[in-house]
């Protein structure tokens, strides 16, 4: 079985939002770039699955659409345990563009199980995974909190309103994963970091894809009024404010 994990290279989640060029671009001064947290959990789960020989996973590939500046993030994924990496050499213009590029690669390099994170920490689109599956005309399962392999069958658990359910699917399948899929993201060991340098990172030319959306500019949220502090001896006052001022109870 071959696994593909879609990765997004995003600013560290503690990055403060500041914009430049008339608020059309993020100020990347001093920004740390990381593997999108959900993608990192997906990669972790893929490696856990591969570590069990009974699952017969021959290969884990990671893929991204991005410029050369995304390569440290791909090397990190290789250090954690991916076997090879693919970088489609283009600026990720929007989710549709990114998904079309990934799907095009997969059409000539098939995989059995494709992972993507439920959301990217930058544009919060929750879109690439679902789009890739539709481009490929394969099933997708979203809100996935667990993936196991049992006798060549992929067993997926997904969250539903008020609970969860087990889903089995024909292969190939694309799993859009969220919290729960792996407990903690795996950390690269020194040996992994050394090995990562020798693992293949293939750069692929993009294809022509129409871009359907354009970001005009960014805005920062309105500053909020300061927090009203209430005496812990007078909790009734809080209830009064919630009822009569905020009108939320």
């Amino acid at each position: 079985m071959k696994i593909l994990v879609c990765l997004s290279n995003v600013p560290d989640t503690t990055t403060k939002a500041k914009f430049v060029n008339d608020n059309t671009a993020l100020d990347t001064t001093g920004v740390q770039w990381i593997i999108n947290p959900w993608d990192e959990l997906a990669l972790t789960r893929a490696i856990e699955l591969k570590s069990d020989a009974a699952n017969s996973i021959e290969n884990i590939t990671v893929i991204t659409v991005g410029g050369k500046d995304s390569e440290p993030t791909m090397r990190k994924a290789l250090a954690i345990g991916a076997d090879d990496a693919v970088r489609i050499d283009a600026e990720p213009k929007d989710a549709y563009y990114v998904a079309a590029q990934i799907a095009e690669y997969v059409k000539s390099n098939p995989f059995d199980l494709i992972f993507s994170g439920i959301e990217s920490a930058d544009y919060n689109g929750s879109a690439v995974g679902g789009m890739v599956s539709e481009f490929l005309n394969i099933p997708s399962v979203s809100a996935v909190s667990s993936v196991n392999i049992d006798g060549g069958q992929v067993k997926i658990t997904r969250d539903i309103d008020g609970g969860h359910e087990e889903v089995s699917s024909e292969l190939p399948v694309l799993a859009i994963v969220q919290k729960g899929i792996a407990k903690e993201p795996m950390i690269a060991a020194m040996r992994g970091i050394m090995m990562a340098r020798k693992k293949p990172l293939n750069v692929v030319a993009p294809m022509e894809v129409e871009v359907l959306t354009d970001v005009v500019n960014f805005e920062l949220p309105q500053p909020k009024p300061p927090c009203k502090m209430i005496d812990p001896e007078n909790v009734k006052e809080l209830v009064n404010l919630l009822q009569n001022e905020a009108k939320v109870i």
Binding site: T13, T15, K16, A17, P37, W38, Y96, A99, E119, A121, D122, Y123, N124, G125, S126, A127, G130, S133, E134, I138, P139, V141, S142, A143, D159, I160, D161, G162, G163, E165, E166, V167, S168, S169, I176, Q178, K179, G180, V211, L212, T213, V215, V216, E219, L220, P221, K224, P225, C227, K228, M229, D231, P232, V235, L238, V239, L242, Q243, V248, I249
Partner: protein, 321 residues
Amino acid sequence: MSVLVFTENWDGKFKKVSFELVSYASKIAEMLNTQTVALSIGNVQDDELNKLGNYGADKIVSVKNDKLNILDNQVYTSVIAQVAEKEGSKVVIIAQNNMGKALAPRLSVKLKAGLGAGVSKLPSSVEPFTVFKKVYSGKAYSNLVIKSDIKILTLAQNSFEFEENNKSASIESFEPTLNDDLFKTKVGNVEKQTGKILLTDAEIVISGGRGMKASDQWGPIEELAEVLGAATACSRPVSDEGWRPHEEHTGQTGKIIAPNLYIAAGISGAIQHLAGISSSKCIVAINTDKDAPIFEAANYGIIGDASKVLPELIQAVKEIK
């Protein structure tokens, strides 16, 4: 031409989000001078379907087919696309929740329609079609132009005040084409609690963090939730410790919620936690540390031990109920 809105029901009753979606869609239909078509998939009776008319639907397309009892993303996408085509829909509105995240991206490819994910306001213009959406997990917003002929918008939760707008909507049933080879997934075991308030649907959420000290200290949180008719949630360390199920984890990598009232007890408010709750209308923080970042995000704060403050709060709420 039309604006199509995909509604969701739970056991035959529309979820609150469906009324928000229909109300939002009808406002966009007004901007485009066209009609609002609401799609319902599932076993929903006519008197329930008619409720969509109260929020501005002109027409309700009802699809009832036992093959659709389970969610298969590819199949559902095909059904929505068939209805969109039949109704000449130029805009499709879906919720930004588990269901919407599963379907909207697929539909975007199927209809070659640009996606505005997680919009929180009406479009500022329809020519060019410009939407306002959250980015960087709520730390900023972007104005996004969708250039394609058909547009898909997913509406961020609790971001739009819905209002009644009575129309006498017509109900039409529709039989989609469902080829057997489209069905590639099967659902096995289902574990589902009924009657519980859904965290993502709840108007009030009571949430506990590490400051609650241990898993057996959740009594006051559950009791306050019960007296307020609220759902319960928790911070990441709490779900990582296994004190509470991961379904309750709110924050950057957990659930993103936007209730009217969010009460954070013993939660310090790391930036990743705030990413999941910052769209709440009113935030109350209870924490022993006066410098905890949660107080910067909160509207009301109490510096104190949650295990002492919560029982008093429960008492005070009971007195007004």
